[in-house]
């Protein structure tokens, strides 16, 4: 433990709390590995046009179902082979990173705004307000989110925007529950009473006094929700109710490759592994963030 006697002011060279947190994060295997993979995925998504060897939706009907480079008949021209319409599989995989990340991040942000707002309001005001918000949360939990998402997208029509909106409006429950509990605890702190006495408004207190103290919870939930959104996007697209063809989505690629499951299993394996790695990375980062934000996880 560090010396915490009150007369000892931190010297200029001493690390700030922010830097300490960063140092702890960089020592955590999960954070480094998960975060590294996510950064890699973001880079792939950003530079997809430069990385992809071919146009992901350009069909070539004379070069259909070409095997990947490690199988007989494979060539370096199509490293992962081609699909049933002769589209370069590697290029589709690379562009699929974009769909996955865009849905994951947007749903995380949209549901995060809804959920944390509700959680702040319920936790800060308590009493009747809290009861109303709890009622909304319970009602939401009672409704099966995947089923509703499927049904809504079937009615409205599948597109990237529809998917993000529907999932964003459904997946906020965990944020609300966690932020509500944390806020209700923090509101009892002396610094909040002091701000109130000083005449600060509720939004000001929530933003400046409470928000910084619940952000670490929100971050952990955010990773969970992003993982769930990535998985749900894949499932919806697999069921034919997500992004419309020919947009390259990993779930859609599995659905299209399913026809050739027995003859060309790699068409199903490759995008599946991509989804698995993406979700694994997000969850590893989330677990790591939880570890380092808990005092007993700080080793």
């Amino acid at each position: 433990m560090t010396d915490t006697s009150p007369d000892r002011l931190p010297a200029a060279t001493e690390p700030t709390p922010r830097r300490l947190r960063l140092r702890r994060a960089l020592r955590h295997q999960g954070v480094v590995l998960g975060g590294g993979l996510i950064i890699l995925a973001v880079l792939i998504a950003l530079f997809a046009p430069l990385l992809a060897p071919a146009d992901p939706i350009a069909q070539n009907l004379t070069g259909r179902l070409l095997p990947p480079v490690w199988l007989d008949g494979g060539s370096t021209e199509h490293l992962l082979g081609t699909d049933h319409l002769g589209r370069d599989y590697l290029s589709r995989l690379i562009y699929g990173t974009r769909v996955s990340l865009i849905v994951g991040l947007s749903v995380m942000a949209l549901s995060g705004v809804i959920g944390t707002t509700l959680g702040f309001i319920a936790g800060y005001f308590g009493g009747r307000v809290d009861m109303v918000v709890m009622y909304i949360i319970t009602t939401r939990l009672t409704m099966p989110s995947l089923l509703i998402a499927l049904a809504l997208i079937a009615i409205i029509g599948g597109s990237l925007t529809t998917m993000i909106l529907v999932m964003g409006l459904l997946f906020w429950d965990r944020y609300a529950v966690v932020v509500r509990t944390a806020t209700a605890q923090i509101v009892q702190g002396d610094f909040v009473s002091a701000a109130r006495v000083a005449g600060a408004s509720a939004p000001w207190i929530i933003w400046n006094e409470i928000r910084p103290n619940v952000m670490h919870h929100v971050l952990v939930i955010a990773t969970l929700e992003m993982a769930m959104a990535v998985l749900s996007e894949a499932s919806l697209s697999f069921l034919g109710l997500g992004v419309p063809a020919p947009t390259p989505s990993w779930g859609l690629m599995i659905a299209e490759g399913r026809t050739f499951l027995f003859a060309k299993p790699y068409l199903v394996w490759i995008p599946g592994i991509a989804i698995f790695l993406m979700v694994l990375a997000i969850n590893m980062l989330g677990d790591g963030l939880r570890d380092i934000s808990q005092p007993d996880g700080r080793r």
């Binding site: 009672t142 409704m143 809504l152 894949a234 599995i254 394996w269």
Partner: protein, 306 residues
């Protein structure tokens, strides 16, 4: 206890009513059902006629009211597509889905309990590491993909198990394992954290210092107390498994209510979809209610809290 139970049940009924109404609203208000049912080539007259035929020209609130009155009498309407009563369509297929969900739940409990207990006994040991690894992978694997991989490996390469349909018990092995994989991570982690917490309590130290055998302390004193939150989660998980059955039944071609719902979603058969929403909402509500009441009965302190 009685007044707690009464309040809790009343709340559940209100929540259930709100949930079905919101579901109804979302399904009915998000598009023109009659237009999408009639198809692209239908004329405006056809659509208007269909709308009238299905009662879609009435105001939304009135339609919900009629639906609710019917539902309370066990009549969930008629399928737009097959013209059969929805209740019958459901009853025929409920068995397959329940078999699947319960088998999956049993598998996940049988795997999670020992794994969680052993991991809790030796935190940071190899068993604990294995649990984290399994939990992380289990959460990351898409169930539809795992289903396809199982089909190609166990069904085609090894030819051990049937891969589609629901004729024999063997048909349920692969789908219930796939479904269980989605439930195991959360359960195992909860058993682990519950056990770690209970094992540090004073009464465990007392039991140990009395000289009780190790397994007795573990089973009778620790596990029993650690199981309380696990029971609640199991109840919630069963609801989630019913929802997840939509994907698994689609992959393994099991003719259960999940498959029925998915097909009905695809062809805009709204009464069937609404019935499934109600079914899942009702199971979730009843299961959490039972879990809450059970916990309140076991632990009186919970009764005063709301």
């Amino acid at each position: 206890m009685l007044s707690f139970a009464r309040d809790r049940i009343l709340l559940s009924v209100c929540v259930l009513l709100t949930a079905t109404f919101v579901g109804f609203l979302l399904l009915q208000a998000s598009g023109d059902l009659a237009a999408s049912l009639a198809g692209e080539n239908a004329s405006a007259d056809d659509i208007a006629q269909l709308r009238q035929q299905l009662g879609l020209d009435q105001p939304l609130l009135l339609r919900y009211w009629h639906w609710l009155i019917g539902a309370l009498q066990g009549d969930l309407g008629t399928s737009y597509f097959t013209r059969e009563p929805v209740t019958g369509l459901f009853a025929e297929r409920l068995g397959a889905t329940l078999t699947l969900a319960i088998a999956a739940l049993v598998i996940s409990v049988v795997v999670s309990l020992p794994l969680g207990v052993f991991a809790a006994l030796k935190p940071n040991s190899w068993v604990d590491g294995l649990l984290s690894l399994l939990a992380l992978s289990g959460q990351a694997v898409p169930s539809f993909w795992l289903g396809l991989i199982f089909i190609s490996f166990f069904g085609v390469t090894l030819r051990w198990l049937p891969i589609s349909g629901s004729d024999t018990a063997m048909h349920f092995v692969l789908p219930s394992v796939v479904l269980a994989v989605s439930a195991i991570p959360a359960l195992a982690r909860l058993v682990r954290s519950g056990m770690i917490e209970v094992l540090s309590q004073d009464y465990i130290r007392t039991a140990r210092s009395k000289g009780l055998p190790r397994h007795r302390v573990l089973m009778r004193h620790a596990l029993r107390n650690a199981l309380l939150p696990v029971i609640s989660l199991t109840a919630v998980q069963l609801g989630a498994l019913l929802g997840g059955s939509v994907i698994v039944e689609a992959v393994f071609a099991i003719d259960g209510i999940g498959q029925l719902t998915f097909r009905s979603i695809q062809r805009g058969d709204f009464p069937v979809v609404q019935a499934m929403l109600v079914f899942v909402a009702l199971s979730y509500t009843v299961l959490t209610l039972v879990a809450d009441l059970m916990n309140a009965w076991i632990d009186p302190r919970l009764r005063s809290r709301k």
